[in-house]
């Protein structure tokens, strides 16, 4: 039998019993990994975050179009939270005008440009929480290159220093781990790494 070499050991903790405490105190730089969740699942996650507190969120989307976000919010409302969107995907296909709560921009080609996009858009939205969905387009933690890791750490350090503040206290970087196991966790500069796993099955119909 071929001998296998351990390349990484990750510890995950199930926090259901302390979810309220964890979600109330979540702040700093957060990496939220998941198994290909839908936007409605992300809303459920956000609704657990700082319940009953008026919170402003800036959502930078490289996955969900603003139209899809609005459609989802009709059935999954976001409680006590104001959402501003930077839609980096719709402009590829449709000609669209900025609205009071959404601007359409080209997707940043690298993490340095992503940082610039964040800095430009915190001016008009003045958020408490910034969400980048997702960083999977820039790095694959299964097979990251040295250059990708270097760029990621430079990005993490830079946004932590420049984008976080007293009222703007949380940045959530979303990562879809469907590309494989996370062999390199970015433990440097991140304050929390969470995994959100949603398991769905077709319902069993009974007569």
């Amino acid at each position: 039998m071929e001998e296998l070499k351990v390349v990484q050991v990750n510890y995950w903790k199930e926090i259901r019993k302390e979810i309220n405490k964890t979600m109330e105190s979540l702040h700093g730089l957060v990496l939220l990994t998941h198994n290909s969740i839908e936007f409605s699942d992300l809303i459920d996650f956000l609704n657990n975050l700082r319940r009953n507190q008026q919170t402003t969120i800036l959502y930078i989307s490289l996955i969900n179009s603003y139209s899809h976000i609005k459609q989802t919010l009709q059935t999954h409302p976001l409680a006590s939270k104001k959402l501003y969107v930077v839609d980096c995907v719709s402009g590829f296909l449709l000609e669209l005008q900025d609205t009071v709560d959404c601007v359409y921009r080209r997707p940043p080609p690298n993490l340095e440009e992503m940082k610039n996009l964040i800095m430009k858009n915190i001016q008009w939205s003045n958020p408490n929480i910034i969400i980048v969905d997702s960083i999977s387009q820039f790095i694959n933690f299964t097979v990251p290159t040295e250059e990708e890791l270097h760029n990621l750490y430079a990005f993490l350090r830079s946004i932590k220093e420049d984008a976080l503040g007293i009222t703007r206290d949380t940045i959530i970087l979303v990562y879809d781990d469907r590309m494989g196991s996370m062999k390199k966790l970015p433990t440097m500069f991140t304050d929390t790494i969470m995994k959100l796993e949603i398991i769905k099955e077709k319902p069993e119909w009974k007569d």
Binding site: I63, N64, S65, P107
Partner: protein
């Protein structure tokens, strides 16, 4: 033989699709971005193209606009990571897009989708 062109900036995916669709019995060609695609389309004359939505250079909107000037009018299947609303999907269908497949995808799913649109085309 039914002709398919794969338009994608990801080299590995482009070459893998090229190989697999060729093995399926299609005549294939590739393009690495919008400009490359527009330069090749009237020479290759594909029946169908798989088009990556987010590529450097021309946006998909610009590609679809410039495609109106070309003689060849292929069916278009979008390959995308993006989740669109129903309203947006309807707008896409009005622009000549016949279907879309969300990345990452199972190859069987893509081939099944392609066969929905080129099933009746004559094969040599």
């Amino acid at each position: 033989m039914t002709k398919i062109m794969i338009v994608d900036d990801e080299t590995d995916l482009r070459e893998m699709l090229n190989l697999m669709l060729h093995k399926e019995g299609f005549e294939t060609a590739t393009a690495e971005n919008g400009d490359d695609f527009l330069n090749k389309i009237d020479e290759f004359q594909p029946d169908l193209i798989t088009l990556d939505v987010m590529m450097p250079g021309l946006t998909t909107r610009e590609i679809l606009e410039k495609l109106k000037e070309k003689k060849t009018k292929p069916k278009i299947i979008l390959l995308t990571v993006v989740r669109y609303s129903e309203e947006e999907k309807q707008k896409l269908y009005q622009r000549g897009i016949v279907d879309y497949v969300t990345k990452p995808f199972e190859l069987d799913h893509l081939i099944h989708t392609i066969h929905k649109y080129v099933l009746l085309s004559p094969a040599s």
